[in-house]
């Protein structure tokens, strides 16, 4: 049984540098970083010391609040460095990989014969529990509760995002195993969203034991938060879990092979990517491992782990995030355009508003850079935001409630239903250049603090 959802509002940003569907390189990892900041809600306790030997699947970190939740190493090797920031905050655990990879054996299992507690225990000790995000707030899932339902989005509509029909085309069995395991954890079952545009050619319409929804629309239609809001919105007091299709496949691989194998195809994209294509890689690989895809002689590149809208700026010396299957390379737009805003035409700039003329060239792709294109101002224009947000909330009201720290109004205007990434496009189109994602994120942090 499938269910069609057609979302009218949204925007596909025409940025250049889409990865061609071929795997250009297999990256043999050298140094890999495990970053606690990838896991929102994790209070990390370090389990290793510099020089310790680890296998792929060995625990590196544990959560201080529920000690059973472990974060494990994606590679085998030795702990090379523990990087701390201000107030000794743990930033990275760097692991020097060995030539041959050895895995911790968790044993091949069949999901159909496992109980919910067995699934939970396996996921927690293998480090894959962290793959589950809990909404509201998008934090590490609490193993004590039973969520209303589990949502999976099998595709991404983010700019230049990896095409999961390509990257996971041979992983259907693993995805199915992952589904079977997770379906033990929620009485509400699994809602599985597939791309309405490619539903017939996509491998995922064959996934069983799920409720399939065909979602069509521009970005952010592929965001799981948008899908939840259009399928069964989160009300106060409810929790749902979400898992990315990438991590669902990793969970399935764990069951089918007994190994924590996080190898994935990562799309190297962006206007500054040379010959953008896919690479075979692990989470936590160094950006320097991608050196044939960029030329940073001038030091003017931005390395984004993730997509341009909600990825993380990691820098040339940074590492790929745990959940990311995309790297975007951008030019730092520090150049100053003379009379930019006053020119009638700016052919090399894209604007979704008709105040410029990019609507005349709907097929054109733009070499976008990171320039803000203006100064930060108060919210002025009122109707641009909801045009790119296919959810029934008032984004500006929500942002203002977050700015004011007004819990009642944040609740009222839907803080439970969104994560910053869902409002990323509002931030992109905002003529007042507010950092809406940061505002929402601060609001969510306040909610977590106040409601705890």
């Amino acid at each position: 049984m499938s269910n069609n959802i057609n979302l009218k509002r949204g925007l596909n940003i025409p940025i250049s540098g889409e990865a061609v569907l071929k795997t250009g390189k297999t990256i043999v990892p050298d140094v890999i970083a495990v970053k606690p900041s990838d896991f929102k809600g994790l209070v990390p306790r370090l389990l290793v010391r510099e020089g310790d030997k680890v296998l792929a699947g060995s625990p590196i970190l544990a959560d201080k609040q529920s000690a059973d939740i472990l974060i494990t190493s994606p590679v085998s090797g030795s702990v090379a460095e523990i990087v701390r920031g201000e107030k000794r905050k743990l930033l990275e655990v760097r692991i020097k990989a060995e030539g041959t990879q050895e895995f911790v054996d968790f044993g091949v299992q069949k999901a159909s014969s496992m109980s919910a507690d067995e699934v939970k225990a396996l996921l927690m000790k293998s480090g894959l529990w962290a793959a589950i995000k809990q909404r509201p707030y998008g934090v590490l899932a609490d193993p004590q509760i039973q969520p209303k339902a589990i949502f999976v989005s099998s595709f991404s509509t983010a700019p230049l995002a990896a095409d999961t029909d390509y990257t996971l085309r041979d992983e259907l069995l693993n995805v199915q195993a992952g589904v079977d395991a997770l379906s033990r954890l929620s009485a509400g079952g699994i809602h599985f969203c597939i791309n309405g545009k490619t539903s017939s050619s996509s491998p995922f319409h064959k996934v069983e034991h799920v409720q399939i929804h065909e979602v069509t629309g521009k970005h952010p239609a592929g965001n799981v938060g948008i899908q939840i809001a259009n399928i069964d919105p989160i009300k106060k007091g409810e929790t749902v879990w979400t898992v990315s299709i990438l991590m669902l496949a990793a969970i399935g691989r764990l069951l089918n092979t007994g190994k924590v194998d996080l190898r994935r195809k990562v799309a190297v994209t962006g206007p500054k990517a040379i010959n953008p294509c896919y690479v075979d890689a692990l989470p936590g690989i160094a950006m320097k491992d991608l050196k044939e895809f960029y030329d940073n002689a001038a030091g003017d590149l931005r390395f984004v782990s993730g997509d341009v809208l909600s990825g993380t700026n990691v820098g040339e010396n940074g590492f790929l995030g745990f959940f990311d299957d995309q790297v975007t390379l951008l030019h730092e737009g520090t150049e100053r355009e003379i009379l930019g805003w006053a020119k009638p035409f700016r052919f090399n700039q894209f604007s979704s508003s008709r105040s410029y003329f990019s609507w005349l060239l709907p097929k054109k792709k733009y070499d976008m850079d990171t320039n803000l294109h203006g100064g930060p101002r108060a919210f002025v224009v009122s109707d641009v935001y909801s045009k790119v947000l296919p959810v029934d909330i008032y984004p500006v009201y929500l942002a203002k409630a977050c700015l004011a720290g007004d819990i009642d109004n944040m609740e009222k205007f839907g803080i439970y239903e969104v994560l910053p990434e869902d409002l990323a496009l509002c931030e992109y189109v905002d003529p007042s250049k507010n950092n809406i994602q940061e505002i929402i994120s601060n609001g969510i942090n306040l909610m977590i603090k106040e409601m705890a």
Binding site: S352, S355, Y356, R377, V380, A424
Partner: protein, 375 residues
């Protein structure tokens, strides 16, 4: 350059304002979305100014034309325009110099960037005042509007009243004798007098006595429907020509800068009350005349749609616009003191816009909750 910057560090906001006016700032995104849309508030504001240009140009010509009609002079098209241009230019100069000086000083004190909102307000103010308003009065009105209408609330985006309209309201209530009647609408040189039978009164001032009074105004200018649409009548500088205003409306609606919903509903509101008044015998002016008289069209297109002071929700915009139009006609018909209702209607609805939004959002949230409860 560096040294210079340090020496003038106390003028940071001012330098920054000119600098970013000439060149797009080189700031890059720090958090959140790494790329941003090319549009910024400067672009939005300049589009409103572009939309206002037809009304401004026609207004300047009309000032000269009305002068010729009233004095019996005859000049070429260019000379007519130039006469008006010289009369209107000082209004623009005063409006921008006084307003921007306060904006810059305010930004300087607060240590913020200068906001470009005044680009529009400064252009609007000369267009909504009578051409012969004394410049010192205009200066005081602008200062009042910018300080008490905007800066005290935190600048553009935080104000709840339209600053340009506030300037006009200030003039009307502080200097009523100078701002109404038949003295100020036609710009005369010193020593010039009106020809016999000519009046300085605007068409709107005749409407209190009905359509016949308007038709037989005995004025030197025509008062037919077409005259009112073309705009060859006395009035505030930019408000007379419906055609020029519609050109501006087309720009605003196409670029999405102003809300077509507010414009539509305002017209509906005016037509509705105008029709009701007709049916009930309160006036003999046909409802559609209300759309072309006085400042209705200008206010509907450029003032009521101010995104900051109008309703923010889409449903709220319909309600807000409808009441702007309706109240405008109500004031026109039932308030003998003020022939022009648009200014008061918009200012009143400005104050009610947050309430409308509150009701709309609360209703939407309740409706949604109910829907998911039953589902």
């Amino acid at each position: 350059m560096e040294e210079k910057k340090n020496r003038f560090a106390f003028l940071h906001s001012t330098i920054d304002a000119f600098d970013t006016f000439l060149r797009v700032p080189g700031t890059v995104t720090k958090t959140g979305s790494h790329v941003r849309d090319a549009v910024d508030l400067k672009r939005v504001m300049i589009l409103v100014v572009v939309a206002l240009v037809p009304a401004a140009l026609f207004g300047m010509w009309n000032v000269g034309y009305q002068h010729n009609l009233a004095t019996g002079a005859e000049t070429s098209l260019l000379a007519t325009f130039f006469y008006g241009f010289l009369k209107v230019l000082p209004l623009f100069v005063v409006s921008y110099v006084v307003g921007l000086a306060i904006e810059f000083a305010g930004a300087q004190i607060k240590g913020e960037e200068v906001n470009e909102g005044y680009l529009v307000s400064g252009f609007l103010i000369p267009l909504i005042v009578p051409v012969d308003v004394p410049l010192w009065m205009l200066a005081i009105a602008v200062a009042f509007a910018v300080i008490f209408g905007k800066e005290v609330f935190g600048g553009t985006g935080m104000n709840f009243l339209n600053p340009a309209l506030l300037a006009r309201a200030f003039l009307f209530f502080s200097y009523p004798t100078k701002m109404s009647g038949s003295e100020v609408w036609i710009a005369l040189r010193k020593g010039e007098t009106l020809i016999d039978g000519a009046t300085g009164a605007t068409p709107l001032s005749f409407t209190a006595d009905g359509i016949d009074a308007l038709a037989n105004a005995g004025a030197q200018y025509g008062t037919s429907f077409m005259d009112l649409v073309i705009g060859t009548v006395p009035g505030s500088v930019g408000e007379t020509s419906i055609i020029a205003i519609l050109l501006g409306a087309a720009v605003l609606i196409w670029t999405g800068v102003a809300s077509w919903k507010i414009m539509c509903s305002s017209v509906l509101g005016a037509l509705f009350v105008g029709w009701l008044a007709n049916v009930l015998g309160a006036t003999t002016i046909p409802a559609y005349y209300q759309l072309v008289l006085g400042g209705f069209a200008f206010g509907t297109v450029f003032m009521a749609t101010d995104p900051v002071t109008s309703a923010q929700t889409e449903c709220g915009k319909w309600i807000y616009g409808f009441f702007v139009g309706a109240l405008c006609v109500v004031v026109r018909l039932f308030n003998p003191g003020y022939a022009e209702g648009m200014m008061l209607a918009i200012l009143l609805m400005n104050t009610f816009a947050p309430l409308i939004d509150y009701c709309v959002t609360t209703a939407a949230i309740n409706r949604r909750e109910k829907k998911f409860k039953t589902a």
